[in-house]
């Protein structure tokens, strides 16, 4: 009964609010009337009695407020009231509102976007059941993961730590479904792959261990869901169809579930096929070559009772057995475990480091934005000190005023958060469908999930409270009598205030951002103009893999010669050369160990160097514009029958022979003991995407002596690229219409190689721009505030004959001093932080005078821009009107 009463009362308070208010009012009025009656009886006239009664009663509004509070249920009402009041206030100062909301939108949007990428790349669990116990095996020595097939089998069969070990390799193949063959990306996987991962087919069946009966025994294909949708139009009867893979018949047995795109996070293969059939795609049987580490990764679920440390010990004991048993093939065999989604630590570590760094920078931006808004809020609170004082005098409690202030702050932060989040969602949608490298099926689905929305909301609320808290002290110290008595001048503090400190910190943060983005941009500019050891300008790359069109054995070099000759007939083509893999390569580059000629024990630990290998045709150096420093180029007579020869680069010569002059005509040994004579020396170049690398040894072998069915043809010509590409395509079609090819300018292909540093540069550049904008609004707010606070003082100064210069100095001296101090601190910090940048950005050095000058100039310009409007206002002060008004 009592509870029911209470409930009814609560509901009544919610819905009959206005009636309640009226009742409270009537009751208080009745009280005053009664009191006045008494006073009237004691002899006063009615009007005087009522006046006295009212005075005796005290602050009516205050008591009414207290009554409403006592009635309870005021939380929502107060909130609505505050929201309405804040909206009214914001509408009255739209400039403030827009600046505040935009600032926050930028900061929260940046944070949400960066967090979403971080979430997708690092935090998001993979679509594999029990992903937490799935580990990839990588080499302890160099953090990469490739294994040879025999080593994989030994690891798989002799370990006691994994439930099962699966292997996969990435490769390209030509798929012929009846029309022209197309290039597709394949994962060659071990028979137990789907069983080890615990994936169930969406359609049809998967292949299993029991399907493997030696080389080329399992011609089966499992399509990924996306490829099935796009190329087989959701045909549910697809299982059982025969397709040609590199001209070999394969049977489609099933379709993988939609969520499963392989275990490598950013890589979307088109289908899976058994690894035992690799010869039909790769052109040579690698299943028995223990020295050839070509399997991309080996992985599996740890048994529940086994810890990673135990598993590593177990693997290492197998490794030392392999080292002893196969000293020719297996060098150091130690292992570590890592998550397979980012290719272990190889990509995982830099990606994690970069994303963490980016997240930190984004966090700094948010902090800077909060500091910014904090000072804007403080300025606004100071401008409103008269209003606050009035409200205090009328009986509003300080907590009540603070509450309203916080409501306003949180409202702004929520609005900013909403705008920012919507912006970042658009950005992320674009990013999710973006295929940065046209040749590779690489894309990262970074669609925001609940995590991202949650984090954005949290950040918005937190920043709202953070910058809302800045003016608290100011409000608490407001003395209503003083303020109303003396006008809104307040104290024009001479000492450093919290606000000044905030602004200084913020400017420092922004200077860090500007410095890092300048360093990054400079690095990129330099990377574009550095000497690569080849000339990507005016060169077209034509990628073909002859095995896709069914060429085998001796047909391959014959066809390659025909292709070169055909290209040379295109008018305007200067030179044509073939290379197995163009430098610098984005994902994989082949290295192989070599020995000095004197070495007899050819075990890996005795190797003299591990140069990058290129198979090239005659004239490649000419086509690539690589300078031949000594000796000769290859000819078509450097074939299998001729003596084994090589062209090496300077670094190779230095490493093996001591000096370039010493190397000509000398011999070195390859892994299988073949002696190779050096017939030429070329300049050093860039061979890996890490353009910042130290010079690496490289050796170039004649393509007839080390054949490769996949090649990149370098076609050098001044022709318009589009026209050239068309001509190349038609020439290729004339030779073999069933040969899939990929044509791109070398410059464009450089984008692939430089992809990582470019992304880093763009990200840093964007953050830098944001930093600049934040610093600008911050300084603007500060300067505007400083001017408006001292308007009267400035007016008096001008009335007394101060020159514009002096007025400006008085008004804007402090913002400028802060700007200078903050920039200096930020520049210093930026120089320190740029050491970190050096890992991602090519030739990152913040001590570059251009960068230093750029930062200083940028900050100066920024200060000028931001103080322009306040300065104008200070100068246009009309002392007479001003003094009259006050």
């Amino acid at each position: 009964m009592k509870l029911l009463d209470l409930l009814r009362f609560r509901i009544a308070t919610l819905f009959q609010r206005s009636q309640m208010n009226a009742e409270v009012e009537e009751e208080l009025r009745s009280h005053i009337q009664h009191r006045a009656d008494d006073l009237e009886r004691s002899g006063l006239d009615r009007a005087e009695a009522e006046r006295r009664a009212r005075i005796e009663f005290g602050g009516q509004e205050k008591f009414k407020e207290e009554c409403r509070e006592a009635l309870g249920g005021t939380f929502i009402e107060t909130l609505i009231q505050d929201v309405r009041f804040s909206l009214r206030g914001l509408r009255k100062s739209p400039g403030f509102a827009i600046v505040a909301i935009l600032t926050l939108a930028l900061a929260i949007g940046a944070n949400a976007a960066v967090f979403a990428v971080l979430n997708a790349l690092i935090l998001h669990p993979q679509y594999v059941p029990r992903a937490e116990s799935l580990y990839g095996i990588q080499h302890g020595s160099d953090k990469d993961a490739p294994e040879s097939y025999p080593d994989y089998l030994d690891l798989r069969d002799h370990n006691r730590s994994f439930e099962g070990l699966a292997a996969y390799n990435l490769t390209q193949a030509g798929l012929d479904t009846g029309e022209n063959p197309s290039r597709i990306w394949v994962e060659e996987v071990s028979g137990n792959y789907f069983d080890v991962l615990g994936i169930q087919p969406y359609l049809g069946r998967f292949f299993h261990c029991s399907d493997e009966h030696g080389a080329n025994s399992a011609p089966y294909v499992v399509l990924t869901y996306a490829y099935w949708q796009s190329h087989f139009q959701d045909d549910r009867g697809v299982a059982g169809r025969i397709v040609q893979v590199n001209k070999h018949p394969f049977t489609i047995v099933g379709v993988a579930p939609p969520e499963f795109r392989g275990t490598l996070m950013f890589f979307n293969p088109d289908f899976f096929m058994p690894i035992v059939n690799q010869e039909q795609v790769d052109g040579q049987n690698l299943l028995n070559a223990r020295g050839r580490r070509w399997i991309f990764m080996v992985m599996g679920h740890l048994k529940p009772e086994v810890t990673p440390a135990q598993a590593i010990a177990d693997l290492n004991s197998i490794g030392s057995y392999l080292e002893k048993t196969y000293p020719q093939d297996d060098g150091q065999m130690t292992f570590t475990l890592a998550r397979p989604s980012l290719y272990g630590d190889y990509l995982g570590r830099p990606v994690r480091a970069f994303m963490t760094g980016l997240m930190l920078l984004a966090g700094l931006i948010l902090l800077a934005a909060c500091a910014n808004l904090g000072s804007l809020f403080a300025a606004r609170a100071a401008d409103r000190s008269r209003e606050v004082a009035l409200r205090l005098a009328l009986g509003a409690s300080r907590p009540r005023i603070l509450r309203q202030l916080f409501t306003e702050a949180v409202m702004i932060s929520l609005m900013g958060g909403t705008v920012g989040l919507s912006g970042s969602v658009v950005l992320l949608r674009g990013l999710s469908v973006w295929q940065p490298l046209p040749q590779f099926p690489i894309n990262v689905p970074v669609n925001p999930d609940a995590n991202v929305y949650g984090v954005a909301l949290l950040l918005a609320l937190a920043s709202g409270f953070l910058f809302g808290a800045v003016p608290v002290r100011q409000i608490l110290q407001t003395n209503p009598y003083e303020v109303i008595k003396s006008g809104s001048t307040g104290r024009v503090g001479r000492r450093m205030t919290v606000r000044d400190l905030l602004l200084g910190v913020q400017i420092a943060i922004c200077a860090v951002l500007v410095t890092s983005s300048m360093v990054a941009v400079r690095g990129l500019a330099r990377s574009l103009h550095s000497n690569f050891g080849f000339e990507p300008q005016n060169a077209m790359l034509v990628n073909t893999d002859l095995s896709m069109a069914g060429y085998r054995g001796d047909e391959v070099p014959a066809m390659q010669r025909r292709m070169i000759d055909a290209m040379k007939t295109i008018p305007g083509v200067k030179s044509v050369g073939l290379v197995g893999q163009y430098p610098p390569t984005a994902l994989v580059w082949n290295t192989s160990i070599v020995f000095t000629d004197e070495t007899t024990d050819l075990r890996p630990s005795n190797a003299a160097a591990s140069p990058v290998i290129y198979s090239i045709s005659p004239e490649y150096f000419h086509a690539a514009d690589t300078a031949l420093l000594a000796g000769r180029d290859f000819t078509w007579r450097d074939d299998k029958k001729g003596p084994r020869v090589a062209v090496i680069n300077q670094e190779f010569a230095r490493k093996i022979f001591g000096s370039v002059a010493n190397a000509m005509g000398r011999y070195y040994k390859r892994r299988d003991g073949t002696r190779i004579q050096v017939v030429g020396i070329v300049e050093d170049g860039k061979y890996t995407p890490n353009l910042a690398e130290d010079p690496q040894p490289a050796m170039f072998l004649p393509i007839l002596q080390s054949p490769s069915s996949e090649t990149w043809m370098v076609v050098r010509s001044n022709l318009d690229p589009q026209q050239l590409a068309t001509a190349i395509k038609s020439k290729l079609r004339d030779l073999d219409a069933g040969l899939p090819s990929f044509i791109q300018t070398w410059n464009k292909q450089m984008d692939t190689a430089l992809f990582a540093p470019r992304v880093a540069t763009v990200a840093l550049g964007l953050l830098g721009v944001m930093g600049v904008m934040l610093a600008m609004t911050g300084i603007f707010g500060m300067a505007a505030y400083s001017v408006s606070k001292r308007l009267r003082e400035l007016g008096i100064r001008m009335a007394l004959g101060a020159q514009p210069k002096e007025v400006l100095q008085a008004a804007l001296g402090r913002p400028f001093k802060l700007l200078a101090l903050g920039s200096a601190a930020g520049l210093l910090l930026g120089i320190l932080a740029a050491r970190v940048l050096a890992f991602i950005v090519y030739q990152a050095t913040p001590r570059d005078p251009l960068v230093l000058a750029g930062v200083v100039l940028a900050m100066l310009l920024l200060g000028l821009l931001a103080t322009w409007i306040p300065a104008q206002r200070a100068l246009s002060v009309d002392p007479v009107t001003l003094l009259r008004e006050e």
Binding site: R35, D37, E56, G58
Partner: protein, 113 residues
């Protein structure tokens, strides 16, 4: 006026309950009654009475109804509920215990300790 004592915080509720326990009263009447039963020794700001009244109503210790006063004006009359009566009894007892304890503490002579 100067010899009036500021009331202790928290005691206003007790005074209101006591005043109302002597019969239904409207706000102003309660104020007069408190003055009367305390010998005009307590200073209560007139407006401060109402938040207290509303609080007690919300706690279910008082119930209120509109009626007509002796001056023939509309006024809200308060009376105790059963819970209010119980609360008054408890509060009075604990107040008396407190007063007795403090009085005893203050009246102790040095030699008696």
């Amino acid at each position: 006026m100067t010899d009036q004592a500021q009331i202790l915080p928290g005691t206003l509720d007790l005074l209101i309950l006591r005043a109302v326990s002597l019969g239904p009263r409207h706000g102003y009447g309660i104020l007069l009654r408190i003055g009367q039963i305390s010998g005009n020794a307590l200073l209560i700001e007139q407006g401060a009475l109402y938040p207290g009244l509303f609080r007690l109503v919300r706690q279910g210790l008082l119930k209120a109804s509109w009626g007509t006063s002796e001056n023939n004006r509309r006024a809200k009359f308060y009376e105790l509920t059963a819970a209010g009566r119980r609360r008054l009894r408890e509060e009075t007892e604990s107040w008396n215990r407190l007063v007795a304890a403090i009085a005893s503490a203050l009246s102790q002579q040095p030699e008696e300790v």
